[in-house]
């Protein structure tokens, strides 16, 4: 891959589905795009999901082509494992400072053979599997990662040198340094996405107990390329026969600073629950909810289907989750549709439908404002929902508030259109005149 040039039309921050879509839209319109992702692979959250509601399409099957398209696009330059350190307005454009983190190997030379990973003696919980499976201190992020290049995690490496000895291209470099790169761009799109609220955010839900799971862990467990290859509970490897979902676990709750609805958790919980009904014969799956927010296209129908296929939904306020013997869980709930009667149930597994929080803050990096909830502020939310408080900086996807994949994709397209018009208005030109804007 050619090195980063010093000038592009647009910088897209974040290589999730929204960032990729924004980059592709701009690329297709003839603009030169620098797509910066802070982790070692693009794909964002979506590439780790199992199937997507409401179509139950396999998520990686529809995400990986977008990843490949972004990687192969003639006008998109991918820059993974890189942080955006600072973006300053200069005229109508921006001066960007990037911090390219070292993979401790020659990225050009690495052929992704995975020999180093097999040789490495150190095992670390794998973030791609929400900490459930293991990876080595040197690893390829996952089977669908782009680029397929190893990365050495210097925090855990003991410098035993085993990887270096097996590498067929001899590409390891333990002395590599991070690199600072400066780039000029005409417009910026923020598509930095989200994290799931930490599991301990509401201690009464037992987020730290081994059989209380995050929804991301459940996605991974259900995935055919997941850590177990089947649905088992983490504490003892038993097949769970009864599973409870706690909805709005850390959303719509001012007490923990997440007053908003996270918008996707009703649907992902229904999706996971329905799939559990397919994966485990006769499993008892119950969602305890405040409101089922199945508002998108085809979602209400999906909700009805899940219920028809045996997913139980109960309007209830969960008071607490505690551990019983054998790692089972006791869930105490106020049944709102039964006049507030308090009930206690035993479950093999509990999933907390945790809310979505911003993965990144502009603080000290770009001078755009954020709302009290931490998501990027969009002052013209009605007609120009991708505008931020800084002209030339646009936002798309979950970075502008929780949303599902189609909504993130639509918004990314909008951000790209807004950026294109901004570039057009100020006649920004990146260096390659031949490939520059056609219209």
């Amino acid at each position: 891959m050619a090195d980063i040039r010093d000038r592009y039309d647009a910088l897209v921050i974040g290589g999730g589905i929204a960032g990729m879509q924004a980059a592709l839209d701009l690329g297709e319109q003839g603009f030169e795009v620098l797509l910066v992702e802070r982790t070692p692979s693009i794909g964002g959250v979506m590439v780790g999901l199992n199937k997507v509601f409401p179509t139950l399409d396999c998520s990686s099957c529809i995400c990986t082509p977008r990843m490949a398209e972004s990687a192969h696009h003639p006008r998109i330059r991918l820059q993974t494992y890189t942080e955006v350190r600072r973006v300053d307005a200069v005229g109508t454009g921006f001066r960007v400072e990037l911090d390219c983190k070292p993979r401790y190997l020659d990225e050009e030379a690495c052929i992704g053979c995975d020999e180093c990973e097999l040789a490495c003696p150190i095992e670390v919980p794998h973030e791609f599997d929400d900490g459930l499976g293991a990876r080595r201190a040197i690893y390829i992020p996952h089977g669908n990662a782009i680029p397929q290049k190893a990365v050495l995690d210097v925090e855990h490496c003991i410098f035993c040198g085993k990887c270096e000895r097996v590498c067929p291209t001899n590409c390891l470099d333990f002395t590599a340094q991070s690199r600072t790169v400066h780039v000029d761009v005409g417009a910026v799109i923020v598509a930095t996405g989200f994290d799931i609220l930490p599991m301990g955010a509401k201690p009464e839900y037992g987020g730290r107990l081994p059989n209380v799971m995050s929804p991301m862990a459940m996605e991974r467990i259900q995935s055919s390329n997941g850590p177990y290859g089947r649905v088992l509970r983490p504490a003892d490897g038993k097949i769970p026969r009864s599973i409870a979902y706690i909805q709005c676990a850390g959303s719509r709750d001012r007490s923990i600073g997440v007053p908003y609805c996270s918008r996707v958790c009703c649907m992902y919980a229904l999706k996971q629950a329905l799939l559990l009904r397919h994966y485990i014969h006769d499993v008892d799956v119950t969602l305890y909810y405040m409101d089922i927010r199945a508002f998108g296209k085809g979602y209400e129908q999906f909700y009805r289907r899940a219920v028809a296929e045996g997913v139980k939904v109960v309007k209830g306020k969960v008071a607490r989750v505690t551990e019983a013997e054998n790692f089972d869980l006791l869930l105490r709930v106020e049944l709102l549709d039964e006049g507030g009667r308090v009930d206690e149930h035993r479950y093999d597994l509990v999933v907390l439908s945790q809310g979505l929080i911003p993965a990144w803050h502009a603080d000290g990096i770009i001078d755009i404002e954020e709302d009290a909830d931490g998501f990027v502020h969009t002052p013209e939310i009605k007609l120009n929902p991708s505008f931020t408080t800084m002209p030339g900086v646009f936002v798309g996807g979950v970075a502008a508030g929780p949303k599902d994949i189609p909504d993130a994709i639509v918004e990314a397209g909008e951000a790209a259109m807004a950026a294109a018009n901004y570039l057009k208005r100020f006649r920004w030109r990146s260096r390659t005149p031949a490939a520059a804007v056609a219209v």
Binding site: C58, E300, F375, I381, L383, A412, A418
Partner: protein, 672 residues
């Protein structure tokens, strides 16, 4: 067994390399391999003639999976590639590109669907594997006969047609105009602005709707690249992506800019009808303007109501009004089309929740008109601010309906989808009413409170804090709206409140507001003209609900806003800009690439029988009178193959699907 000896395959055709077939079978991460023995499929394919390499991979669509294909093409000098995986709608392009990157013509590739067609529909592993194997072997036999083809490149006429002048259409037009592209925006009604113009105030910013809209309209109107036509209807459409020829009819407006004092003309008009803009809450004249500040800022004449009495003309001294104006027709050329035809509020059936029977049962849209200071009641409700009025909001009217519980609509179906915007809209209105009538009692009858968006939940919270009562009803037992037996109240709502253990309750009300759903605006003619796909919910159906939400399956036609499904203004604007972005990409590339699978006539063989002319659904074949032959128009042919199948003398062959290729495939499928 099949005939493996047919040998154009052996490379005798000039420029066609001898077949060396590579077969790649995908696990699809278990989606396929859990049911199909992919290794056995590969092994059986390996025994086919000309197959020189076979393998399997966890995810062939992934980058490493694609890289493997490229590598093996080079390593084994493959000249034909077969990939057995998911549906070609997903990944055919992915693999064609991989094949091309390895230096092969992309049409030397054959895609076999062993997921949707096999592993997802067959449980028995043996049967599934047998079917997958046979499909793959058939594809191999066909692939042996493939020849390189070139993509068709169609130049794009650098202009866009936007159909619909609501907020989404306006936004799409503005974006394309700003991007430097020529746009024509056509609107059915005599005025721009669509449904947003009828709203009084919008969530989540509590802004007045029309000033917001007027700014956008102003940008569009003064834009040098945008032409606006109101009262315009599509009557016919021809052509395909790159060059759509759309014939439109423009209604006679009867009024032009020379009319300087429209008020005088309107006042003089003796004919009245109900105002559709005010949802029948007021009446308007035959010559009318729906609201102050509308665009165009001149009245229009409603010819159904006008009697041509001439009083308006007399009142303005004859200037600017022409009662004999005629409609006109014109044809627009555009490379792309954006559909932004919007929605209609659900109109409750007569008697549904008392609608149309009790005057104090109104829709949320009507409430908006009443709250509008420029509306029919000048913003006043029929109560004074000190009376303790009782107001109810009933959610999910014409939405989330259940077959067998709710009465079917005229089309025989129920509205089973959630209308997405009404929960927040109802809460936004409830909060506003509480502020305006501090002594009011407001009850919300709901199923689930779907205030999902940014800044939406706040209305729900505020409403709760302000004492709005929430009654949760079951969709299986919708509330009943009756008259009050004591005669004290205009209406009574009876239901069972799930939140209090299903206790039956009776809530007497002064006003019941129905939070009605959203149905697509009727565009059945456009649907037929552009062969658009429509979902069960009657909204336009995007190509891929996840990944390509603003594109229709018809190349060059894009979707913006509520014609696709319920959305709020923010979401409609996003969709419009996203659609504009795709359209801009197409136009800025100057051409579209199309598959080369078109029909061609072998002039030596054609007998001029004209069978093909009668079967072609796209009128793509004409008769060359002089020579007595059929000729295919490349621009119009979609490659449907109907003519090739119908031609009695086999004079028509379709590129990529010629008789020999298709027969080779069928032979293996039938095991002959």
């Amino acid at each position: 067994m099949f005939d493996a000896t047919d040998s154009a395959a052996s490379g005798s055709t000039p420029g066609v390399q001898a077949p060396r077939v590579g077969v790649f079978v995908c696990h699809c991460g278990g989606n396929i391999s859990d049911v199909v023995d992919v290794k056995r499929v590969a092994e059986e394919a390996a025994r086919m003639p000309d197959v020189v390499f076979t393998t399997t991979h966890m995810f062939h669509c992934s980058d490493p999976g694609q890289a493997l294909i490229e590598q093996k093409i080079r390593e084994h000098a493959l000249t034909r590639v077969v990939v057995a995986a998911c549906s070609p709608t997903l990944h055919q392009i992915t693999f064609r590109r991989a094949v091309e990157r390895a230096g092969l013509n992309q049409y030397l590739f054959e895609h076999v669907n062993i997921r949707e067609h096999v592993s997802w529909v067959i449980e028995d592993k043996e049967a599934a594997t047998a079917k997958a194997s046979r499909l793959v072997r058939a594809a191999v036999n066909r692939a042996r006969l493939l020849v390189p083809l070139d993509k068709r490149r169609i130049p794009i006429h650098p202009a866009a047609l936007v159909i619909g002048g609501g907020v989404a259409g306006l936004m799409a037009a503005r974006d394309l105009g700003d991007r430097g592209m020529k746009v024509t925006l056509i609107e059915n009604r005599p005025f721009l602005g669509g449904r947003m113009a009828q709203l009084w105030n919008v969530f989540p910013t509590n802004e007045e709707a029309r000033p917001l809209l007027s700014n956008l309209v102003r940008d569009v109107v003064k834009h040098p690249l945008i032409t606006i036509l109101t009262g315009a209807h599509v009557v016919n459409s021809e052509g395909v992506v790159g060059d759509f020829k759309t014939k439109i009819k423009i209604d006679a407006r009867g009024v032009d800019e020379r009319l300087t004092y429209p008020g005088n003309a309107i006042a003089a008009c003796p004919e009245e009808t109900i105002s559709e803009f005010d949802f029948a809450l007021s009446r308007r004249k035959a010559i009318y303007m729906p609201y102050p500040g509308c665009f165009p800022p001149i009245p229009a004449i409603d010819w159904h109501t006008c009697t041509k009495c001439g009083k308006c003309v007399a009142a303005v001294g004859g200037k600017g009004i022409n009662l004999d104006a005629k409609s006109r027709e014109l044809t627009l050329h555009s490379g792309v089309i954006i559909l932004a035809t919007g929605y209609d509020p659900y109109e409750p059936l007569l008697g549904e929740y008392g609608y149309g029977i009790f005057p104090k049962v109104i829709t949320l849209q009507q409430l908006h008109r009443m709250l509008d200071p420029e509306g029919p009641t000048a913003g006043a409700l029929p109560f004074d601010s000190n009376t303790p009025v009782r107001i109810g909001f009933l959610h999910c009217v014409g939405a989330r309906q259940i077959d067998g519980v709710n009465a079917p609509q005229p089309d025989g179906k129920v509205k089973d989808y959630c209308a997405r915007t009404c929960c927040t809209a109802a809460m936004h209105a409830a909060v506003a009413l509480r502020e305006r009538f501090p002594k009011s009692h407001i009850t919300s009858f709901y199923q689930d409170m779907r205030t999902y968006g940014r800044g939406h939940e706040e209305y729900y919270e505020q409403a709760s804090q302000q004492g709005v009562l929430f009654v949760r009803y079951s969709p299986w037992h919708p509330p009943r709206v009756d008259k009050d037996r004591t005669g004290k109240w205009p209406v009574v709502v009876r239901t069972n409140d799930l939140l209090t253990d299903g206790l039956p309750i009776e809530v007497p009300l002064d006003l019941l507001v129905l939070a009605t759903g959203v149905v697509p605006h009727d565009i059945s003619e456009l649907v037929t003209m552009y062969s658009c796909a429509v979902g069960y919910d009657s909204f336009l159906l995007e190509v891929h609900p996840k990944l390509r939400p603003v594109e229709l399956a018809v190349s060059g036609v894009f979707l913006a806003g509520c014609c696709q499904g319920p959305m709020d203004i923010t979401e409609a604007c996003s969709a419009a800009s996203a659609a504009a972005s795709k359209a801009a990409a197409m136009i800025s590339q100057g051409q579209v690439e199309m598959d080369p699978f078109i029909a061609s006539v072998d002039e030596e063989v054609c007998t001029g029988c004209q069978t093909c002319l009668t079967v072609c659904p796209y009128d793509a074949i004409v008769r060359d009178e002089a020579r007595g032959l059929a000729i295919v128009s490349e621009a119009l042919c979609t490659g449907c193959g109907t003519c090739a199948a119908a031609c009695p003398s086999s004079a028509i062959q379709q590129a990529g699907f010629n008789d020999r290729q298709v027969r080779a495939e069928i032979d293996v499928l039938l095991g002959v």
